[in-house]
């Protein structure tokens, strides 16, 4: 088996006295799609945000493509990376947020062009060509000049995906990308993600969409209370869960649809 693209070992994280992550391990192979499932407050979003250092971990290590995230080892001691070095590590990790977080003062095209030009120093003309192609690919070729406020939630999320892809990341992180969408708009976003997965993009997806996980994931990780309860192929974890907590969760998802609105700060 090839070297994993993401390797997390014994990751722990507390907010004040609350332990949100208690020793998470995860390995993601290149091209693999991993879905993180679990009830609200289980720590899955926090864990995802640790991978690109939006949250600083207290213990354990995370490697992405061989780089230790947020830390450097010199002369046998660990040193925290500077903001600039962390920014550099983030360039290769795309992230899609629950609430899209598009830049509202820029058009769809400008949103996608911004980082390649300002961060990578790409020529504007080249970046615009690639951005148009990306927006075309997520089905928004006719919306280049629209501001986010003129787009539906589903369209905004697809622009956000194109914006992340424009940096040509090695890894894509999705933080509940469909949770803030009206039910009839969920499908268009999942369709784009399905296509990315089929193209061999390495993805880690925090989601409540059990059907999507079943269909697309190579590995499903079920988390609860800051630990991994169960992991494996989707047909095993979702079809034949071994743990009581997994079973309860899946039963609830089946009866009540997605969980009741996740808190804004999403666990």
């Amino acid at each position: 088996m090839s070297e994993p693209l993401v390797r997390a070992v014994n990751v722990s994280k507390s907010f004040g006295h609350v332990e949100v992550l208690r020793g998470i391990d995860l390995e993601v192979a290149p091209g693999e799609v991993v879905c993180l499932l679990g009830p609200s407050g289980s720590g899955k979003t926090t864990f995802l945000r640790c991978i690109n250092h939006l949250e600083r971990i207290d213990g354990g290590r995370i490697w992405v493509d061989g780089d230790l995230i947020g830390l450097a080892e010199r002369a046998g001691r660990l040193h925290r990376l500077t903001d600039r070095q962390i920014a550099e590590q983030r360039r290769d990790i795309g992230m899609v947020f629950q609430r899209f977080n598009l830049f509202p003062h820029m058009t769809a095209l400008e949103n996608v062009v911004e980082a390649p030009v300002r961060v990578r120093g790409e020529r504007r003309a080249d970046a615009e060509r690639r951005a148009s192609a990306l927006l075309e690919r997520v089905g928004l070729g006719d919306r280049l000049g629209n501001f986010p406020s003129q787009l539906s939630g589903g369209q905004q999320q697809r622009v956000a995906i194109a914006r992340a892809l424009a940096m040509q990341p090695k890894l894509m992180l999705f933080d509940e990308p469909t949770s803030a969408l009206d039910p009839e708009l969920v499908g268009e976003v999942l369709a784009v993600m399905r296509e990315l997965a089929a193209d061999g993009t390495t993805m880690i997806v925090v989601t409540h969409e059990v059907a999507f996980a079943r269909e697309v994931a190579d590995q499903v990780v079920f988390m609860d209370a800051g630990v991994v309860v169960e992991r494996g192929r989707p047909e095993d974890v979702l079809g034949n869960p071994r743990h009581e907590r997994t079973r309860t969760f899946l039963a609830r998802m089946r009866s009540g649809g997605p969980e009741q609105p996740a808190p804004p700060a999403a666990g």
Binding site: A87, P104, M106, A160
Partner: protein, 322 residues
């Protein structure tokens, strides 16, 4: 004639008598009379010598005072104020306690001191620098007293030059008004930066932007939407506060010059009228500029922002003297 709908028949078009508003007409009549009285006063009262007003407005010293003391000082003091204010706001929001305290103390001092008093203080500041103002190694005079090392100074501005620059040119006004403005702008910029959603910082950082780049490209342009309207008020207030330059004392300033003319000719009303007209013209132009700035930074925030009529886009705030 309208009749209630017959049972079984579906009600059709409404043809009702609109509500009458007699008091609106009364108020219109009252206002019309008041406007006529004002027009009559302006045209017939001897104290309004319009020819004299125009003549006063046309004096070289007055025009020079308007251009240098009023307009140029406003522009430069606001430049100092806006740049200083944004820097102070960023410092204030810093996680570094020392930096945020420095910003707080600065704001506390300059907001607390009246501008008239501050300008008088800046005007006499030369008195503090008996040996002039130098750029060099701090405390070099102590080292030279203790160790006999030479004084290490690259550039020195003499005390008399300082007196002249701060005490009789608009530089003193730019320093005094600019620092005072920075304190107000700091609060405005801080409110603007805080108005931008946390998710915007995160989205920028997730794309690998440095904090500075995220601030410049993502946060500040959105903060501007909140910053521009109160800043427009600040510019207008600043324009009017340049009349305080007399505290320094700087004489190349509009109101001082017109005041002199009024005193010498006893045409106080007419010369004050000249000043009022100048301030109104400048303020009106600024309001137009503000409208376009607001439109620029309202980009992408709802369709109403762009289609909003001009009158609503300009905020007519009351900017009192500070």
């Amino acid at each position: 004639m309208s009749t209630p709908a017959e049972p079984g028949e579906r009600p059709g078009r409404i043809d009702a008598v609109e509500v009458r508003h007699p008091w609106r007409w009364v108020s219109v009549a009252v206002i019309a009379v008041l406007v006529l009285m004002l027009a009559h006063l302006l045209v017939t009262n001897r104290a309004f010598d319009w020819r004299f007003t125009l003549e006063a407005m046309n004096q070289t010293t007055v025009i020079r005072g308007f251009l240098i003391g009023t307009l140029l000082t406003t522009v430069l003091a606001m430049a100092v104020g806006i740049v200083g204010g944004v820097v102070l706001a960023v410092l204030r929001l810093s996680e570094n306690r020392v930096l945020s305290s420095v910003s707080w103390v600065f704001t506390w001092f300059f907001r607390g001191v009246p501008r008239y008093v501050l300008l008088g203080f800046v005007g006499g500041l030369g008195a503090l620098f008996g040996t002039g103002l130098s750029i060099g190694v701090p405390f070099d005079f102590l080292f030279s007293a203790w160790f006999g090392t030479p004084e290490l100074r690259a550039v020195t501005i003499g005390q008399q030059t300082l007196y002249d620059l701060l005490g009789s040119t608009i530089l003193g006004g730019i320093v005094g008004l600019g620092l005072s403005e920075a304190a107000y702008m700091a609060e405005i910029a801080r409110a603007g930066i805080l108005s931008v959603d946390r998710g915007q910082h995160e989205a920028a950082e997730a794309l690998g932007m440095s904090r500075g780049l995220a601030m410049r490209r993502v946060v500040l342009p959105q903060a501007m939407r909140v910053i521009v309207p109160p800043t427009g008020n600040e510019v207008i207030a600043m324009l009017k506060d340049t009349s305080l330059l007399v505290a320094i004392p700087v004489t190349a300033e509009l109101f001082y010059q017109l005041g002199q003319i009024g005193q010498q000719t006893y045409q106080v009303v007419a010369s004050n009228m000249a000043a009022i007209i100048y301030y109104l013209i400048a303020t009106s132009i600024l309001m137009v500029g503000q409208y376009f700035l607001e439109r620029r930074f309202g980009r992408g925030f709802g369709t109403q922002a762009a289609a909003r009529p001009a009158a609503a886009g300009v905020s007519l705030g009351v900017g009192g003297a500070k």
